[in-house]
């Protein structure tokens, strides 16, 4: 199908499956691997678009379900889409809306037609079809839009997983057919198939035939064991076309990002950095600081040495301790810092791939974050070993 993006791999890691690329979208270039902050309602937690841009963010995520409810499709059409609506001139990605319905709403029922759910406004039954999702996402105007997929929990087993996989493929066909702006918006397919390698393989084969501009690995992060999670991711990146961007949905913890990049993933999104900011938790290379704790009362250091975000350039932990979760400014500052942290992490990952020292970066990253090797998560050790990085033994190897 038509594509409105350009995918240029500029460097490949000599050891792992990681790669550095430039993804050129209708609203400008995106350096990959990339982390995309989530602005659910068309805004990122009190941070202005200028501030987000100032952090070097090139692509942000909006949620179709939320924007469909408010401001609604009609208003989005009137004003010319979500970019204009929120004053954001860089790239946007939207999900299909299906996931929210299944996870947020009671009585959501999936039929071949679509996802049927109870309106949160008046309780009446509503139906989200692939066609409707496409229509909404066309109105939003996101640079990347996601197909409506049949979401099942990653803990589900049995025939339901296979049914969801086949239905997702059928819905992809309906999405492709209903997509009205393939020349300016890129539709990504979502690989389903649960934790079953055979189903994943089948799904990839079918979806690759549809030749969408990019692919996402879906149906994960639902409570499955991390050791199973990474194996699915790795299997998918092995089978997916290497000339297209690969997006792993809903991943955003620092070590997950580093591991998944090593496994060959290019794009990530996560609400965690800004959500946790709200509770006064600041992310750093050496771990999370819960700034609400009294031990920071007399800690006159910035959140993170060397961070050039407005919070670290302006305030001490001692002062932030007095305002986090009390004043909205405290929340904004930590949100800014956490977003800066995520984006910086991805920049560092990317630079190290370009300079072909990603394995060394991984070693240092885990040492900074977990200190003791005994504390390294076993799944991460296993995952990295599968791409030739031995966290336990191989620290001194190139």
């Amino acid at each position: 199908m038509k594509s409105a993006l350009k995918w240029d791999v500029i460097a490949k890691c000599g050891t792992t499956k990681a790669r550095a690329a430039v993804l050129t979208l209708p609203h400008g270039p995106v350096n990959a691997p990339v982390f995309m902050p989530v602005g659910t309602q068309g805004t990122l937690k009190g941070i202005t678009p200028d501030q987000i841009e100032g952090l070097g963010c090139q692509i942000m995520l909006n949620n179709t379900y939320h924007l469909g409810l408010r401001p609604g499709q009609e208003l989005l059409d009137t004003c010319g889409g979500a970019h204009v609506f929120q004053g954001w001139n860089r790239n946007l990605l939207t999900d299909s809306g299906g996931f929210q319905m299944v996870s947020l709403l009671k009585l959501a029922e999936i039929t071949e037609k679509g996802v049927q759910f109870e309106s949160p406004h008046d309780g009446s039954l509503m139906l989200l079809t692939p066609e409707h999702s496409m229509s909404l996402q066309n109105s939003i105007g996101a640079d990347i839009m996601m197909q409506l997929d049949d979401v099942v929990s990653s803990l589900t087993t049995g025939p339901r997983v296979e049914e969801a996989m086949w239905r997702s493929i059928r819905w992809l066909d309906r999405c492709i057919k209903a997509h009205k702006k393939p020349e300016s918006q890129n539709l990504f397919a979502i690989i389903q198939g649960g934790l079953d390698p055979a189903l994943r393989k089948q799904c990839i084969e079918e979806m690759v035939k549809r030749d969408t501009p990019g692919y996402a690995i879906g149906g994960l992060s639902g409570g499955e064991e991390k050791d199973k999670f990474w194996r699915v991711v790795s299997q998918c990146t092995d089978l997916m076309p290497r000339e297209k961007p690969i997006y792993c949905m809903g991943v955003g913890y620092a070590e997950d990002l580093v591991v998944c990049v090593a496994l060959g993933v290019d794009m990530f999104d996560c609400v965690f950095p800004t959500r946790t900011a709200r509770f006064g938790n600041a992310l750093t290379a050496t771990g999370t600081l819960s700034l609400r704790q009294a031990k920071f009362k007399d800690d006159f250091r910035p959140i993170e040495e060397g961070c050039d975000c407005i919070a670290c350039k302006s305030y001490t932990r001692a002062y932030l301790y007095t305002i986090v979760t009390k004043e909205t400014v405290g929340c904004h500052l930590i949100s800014i810092h956490n977003t800066a942290y995520q984006l910086r992490l991805m920049r560092q990952v990317r630079e190290s791939i370009i300079e072909d020292r990603f394995p060394q970066f991984i070693h240092k990253f885990f040492k900074d974050l977990f200190v003791e090797k005994a504390a390294y998560p076993e799944w991460a050790v296993n995952a990295l070993k599968s791409v030739n990085v031995d966290l336990i033994q191989g620290e001194n190897q190139p």
């Binding site: 659910t40 309602q41 805004t43 990122l44 937690k45 202005t48 200028d50 501030q51 949620n63 401001p71 208003l75 004053g87 929210q100 996870s103 947020l104 009671k106 992060s221 639902g222 409570g223 064991e225 991390k226 050791d227 949905m249 809903g250 991943v251 913890y253 620092a254 070590e255 999104d269 996560c270 609400v271 800004t274 959500r275 509770f279 938790n281 992310l283 050496t286 999370t288 600081l289 609400r292 704790q293 009294a294 031990k295 009362k297 007399d298 006159f300 910035p302 040495e305 407005i310 350039k313 302006s314 305030y315 002062y319 979760t325 009390k326 004043e327 400014v329 904004h332 977990f370 998560p377």
Partner: protein, 605 residues
């Protein structure tokens, strides 16, 4: 003593608007030695008067991060001591760094300005948040307690974020020495009651405030201000000791009745000794102090609703050498209506020197500002634009001729609009045509978008509203100053009132749409509580072996919507829970989990 502050009156209104006083405009700045510093960050701004100090909460201007704050042109910030002083300060100042720990300010002394990232603004430090003098003033998260236990001769009572605390004169002085704000208001016994205080209470408060002021002035000049107190204390102590001695001597005498004769002699001797002691001069070693003459000192003048007291307070305070400016107390007038309050303000002003700046709290709506300016008030604060933003309101008022292009956005010549109103939902126009604030400029953020942000409970709404309202307030003051200079203050003030009428009384009621949105949020959080429990156990960093999300919205979107905590007791409880947990990133999942649970429980309770 040379003042660190420079107040220069450029022009006094040619046409006095009231008998006695008249409007004036000028500049309020720090003298050269206090603005030392080489880079841009350290150059202090000047406050043009009549002008504003920015209102702050816990040392931060509400909703505005430092970068957004710098888009405003105000020259100073008002910081309430009661909101930033920790319960264990000044004790914990032992760990206060000598020089700034912020990398970009390395080398400069670590003062309140460095601590609060206010290096380029005049830092004005008062004791309490007196904005509560304004009608129906509201703060969304932590309202300070207004009515406190009474002050005593030894301390004033403050409402800090961690509860009520007593601030002794000594603590106050130590705090000022560490914080080194550009201007500090002298410790005073302010009357905060909502009912009119009686004469005795008023007199007592004024005497106490004046005595503290004397002591503060001495300390500031490097002398021991509390020496008289300590001498009196010593005298009391010795008297007590003598009494004790006599009593024990008498008891001993009783026990040894057989040696009566001898004892009588002793008694005589003792009596002689006592009278000798009385004559003895009590010498108290003064505590040498570092002068802090680089800090400007304002003094509060009060007197509640009693004219004589107001006059006396103003006259006595004005006599003190070294006072750089005055805060006109209106908190003790809260039982009165606006006109009566203004009358009493005038009484104070009539007895203050004309060449020093005067600050007024609590009368902050544009037409009140105009009246106060006409009376000769120089400094206000920005609590008015803040309150509007809290209500979802955006300013549309203008002073003087209507600015070009504004007829479109303000055809009904409204003072402000409420962005919660449904009518703005489809208005893809700026709040105010021609406004140069971040939101309005280039139609970046429309009324429809702000309406959407309010209805989705997103914090960017107040960020944008605050920025716009602050910008409009600063524009208003610029035009007011111009009208003083060109002699049109009275005329334009009359026109303003004719156009916009009086500020409607602020109610504490929420907009109907806000009530709906908040109720829906609460319901949603309640409904999701069960689902939340299911995943909460695995939220966390690395150590977790089970993969949960992050997934774009499922857990995230609603957890984000959980209300910010608003109750001190709740926060305390959660705080304790949290402190029980381990620290540090990877090991922090317990904390995150607990915080999350608490937040969910809270939002549904």
């Amino acid at each position: 003593m040379t003042s660190p502050l420079k107040f220069q009156i450029k022009q006094t209104s040619a046409k006095p608007t009231r008998a006695g006083e008249s409007a004036r405009c000028g500049t309020f700045a720090l003298s050269q030695s206090n603005t030392a510093g080489t880079d841009q960050q350290h150059v202090k701004r000047t406050i043009e008067t009549p002008g504003c100090l920015m209102y702050s909460l816990k040392g931060a201007v509400p909703h505005l991060t430092p970068d957004n704050l710098r888009q405003q042109s105000f020259g100073g910030v008002n910081v309430s001591l009661e909101q930033i002083l920790q319960t264990d300060q000044p004790g914990s100042f032992s760990r206060w760094p000598e020089t700034s720990p912020i990398p970009q300010f390395t080398g400069s002394k670590f003062t309140l300005a460095e601590y609060l990232r206010l290096q380029d603004l005049i830092t004005f430090c008062d004791l309490r948040d007196y904005s509560y003098a304004a009608e129906n003033f509201r703060h969304p998260t932590t309202p300070p307690t207004r009515k406190l236990a009474s002050n005593t001769d030894n301390h004033a009572v403050l409402s800090t974020p961690k509860g009520i605390r007593q601030l002794t004169l000594d603590d106050y002085l130590k705090t000022v020495r560490h914080y080194r704000p550009d201007v500090v208001v002298a410790l005073a016994d302010t009357i905060a009651e909502t009912t009119a205080p009686n004469e005795k209470r008023v007199r007592k408060s004024l005497e106490r405030s004046l005595k503290w002021l004397d002591q503060i002035l001495l300390e500031r000049a490097g002398q021991d201000g509390t020496i008289e107190d300590r001498r009196a204390e010593e005298e009391k102590k010795r008297r007590r000791e003598r009494k004790e001695k006599r009593r024990s001597a008498a008891a001993a005498a009783k026990a040894a009745g057989e040696q009566q004769e001898q004892d009588q002699d002793q008694d005589q001797e003792q009596g002689a000794g006592t009278s000798k002691e009385k004559e003895e001069e009590i010498y108290i070693e003064p505590i040498p102090t570092e002068p802090w003459t680089d800090v400007g000192l304002f003094a509060a003048v009060g007197g509640a609703h009693l004219e004589e007291s107001r006059i006396w307070s103003a006259q006595e305070t004005a006599k003190k050498e070294g006072v750089d400016g005055f805060v006109i107390d209106t908190l003790s007038l809260s039982a009165l209506d606006k006109d009566a309050r203004l009358k009493h303000v005038q009484t104070s002003l009539d007895h203050l020197p004309a060449d020093k700046p005067r600050l007024l709290y609590g009368l902050h709506a544009p037409e009140d500002v105009l009246e106060a300016v006409a009376m000769g008030i120089d400094l206000f604060d920005t609590s008015y634009p803040f309150q509007l933003a809290e209500d979802g309101r955006a300013s549309l008022y203008y002073y003087g001729p209507r600015p070009a292009g504004q007829d479109k956005s303000n055809s009904k010549t409204q003072r402000s609009i409420n962005l919660w109103d449904d009518e703005h939902g489809d208005k893809f126009v700026p709040i105010l045509e021609g406004c140069r604030c971040y939101a309005c400029k280039d139609n970046k953020h429309t009324r429809a978008y702000i309406n959407h942000l309010l209805k989705t409970h997103e914090m960017l709404a107040t960020v944008l509203l605050m920025g716009h309202n602050m910008y409009q307030y600063s524009q208003f003051f610029i035009l007011v100053r111009e009208s003083i200079q060109d002699g049109t203050l009275q005329e334009k003030s009359t026109a303003f009132l004719a156009t916009f009428g009086k500020e409607p009384t602020r109610t504490l009621e929420k907009h109907p749409n806000q009530i709906i949105v908040e109720a829906a949020l609460q319901k949603r959080n309640q409904r999701l509580e069960g689902a939340e429990e299911g995943v909460v156990g695995v939220i966390g960093m690395g150590a977790s072996t089970v993969n949960t999300p992050s997934l774009g919205a499922a857990v995230g979107a609603h957890a984000e919507d959980v209300e910010m905590e608003d109750s001190e007791s709740k926060s305390k409880k959660r705080h304790e829970t949290e402190e029980a947990g381990e620290d540090g990133g990877a090991k922090d999942e317990v904390v995150e989990k607990k915080v999350k649970k608490a937040a969910v429980a809270e939002s549904s309770s």
